[in-house]
Symmetry: C2
Subunit: 186 residues, 2 copies
């Protein structure tokens, strides 16, 4: 077998992403990641450090890449909500990782996320000053509601998920439409 440390790193990252998405940080097992990655456990420690640092690497590598993949347009928040919805549909793993992060890293202050939030809030404020967005809500208020609506279909408890969901396009339509209602002030 040809030796390729970069390929091994990638296999470990992929296996770790699946493991962390499924079980969270506390519930994940380094041995299981090694097994899935067809790599020796010691290599995980050699390449990534501790389990917590491996999670950080996974989160940075996968999730942060997607933060900027969804274009943020403060003058068209309904479309932004729709794109967010699309992302949650296409990469359910990413959303799970984010949720684990929220729960298990309550003191997290990833600079990239902070910067992304600040940029969004600034863009909203700018759009408001330009008269292109309602001033009925503050930037934080708008971002909060838009985010909640965008992920509404992915917040279902297991029990509510038993009820048959509308089609994907219908769900998307509802998300976009409800954000439109929010920003189209009288």
């Amino acid at each position: 077998m040809a030796r390729d440390s970069e390929a091994t790193r990638v296999r470990i990252l992929d296996a770790a992403e699946a493991e962390f998405a499924a079980y969270g940080i506390a519930g994940s097992r380094v041995d299981r990641i090694a097994e899935t990655a067809l790599a020796n456990k010691a290599l995980i420690y050699k390449y990534f450090g501790t389990k917590d640092e491996l999670f950080d690497a996974v989160f940075a590598h996968r999730v942060l890449a997607f933060v900027d993949e969804v274009e943020f347009d403060a003058t068209d928040l309904p479309a932004y909500a729709g794109r967010s919805f699309d992302l949650y549909e296409r990469f359910p793993t990413t959303l799970r990782l984010t949720t684990w992060y929220q729960l298990e890293r309550p003191d997290g202050k990833l600079p990239a996320i902070v910067a992304s939030n600040d940029a969004k809030l600034a863009k909203i404020e700018e759009a408001q000053r330009a008269g292109k967005l309602t001033t009925a809500y503050s930037p934080l208020e708008l971002l909060t509601e838009v985010r909640a609506l965008a992920m509404s279909w992915h917040l279902h408890t297991p029990e509510l998920a038993l009820v048959r969901r509308p089609s994907r396009s219908r769900c998307r339509e509802i998300v976009v439409e409800s954000v439109r209602r929010l920003v189209d002030q009288d």
Copy 2:
């Protein structure tokens, strides 16, 4: 010290709720729960069974409290959203427990929750038939969006939580108002 098994059960339940809310099922430590509850670990196993069963007890307790305390009125969903918001404010552990449950118990089918959902969906349908609620959305669609809006302020990532939130009453107002916008169809 007077012996009172019921008081001990309550102390264990309270300590377990705090522990599970903070660390989830996999991350919680039975020893820590015992310490917080000022109770012996063996009593936890005697009264509640395994760690997983203790989580079930805690979760059922919280969920039932929610169902009991938050009256569901399909003809006034904005008010329902407001009451839900109030409960999340009063018992911040509720949403965290629910999220852990979603992540760590993806196959959960708690009868109390299923029944509560069914009842809500039926009431919405009834209100729609009586012409007291918009038929622009199906019952599941309405419940989904209303729930998301009600918990919008409690879904912040650690990074977004760094931004100073509006006053509690303002947040509540936004929740109620945005649900009103949703159900007040043209």
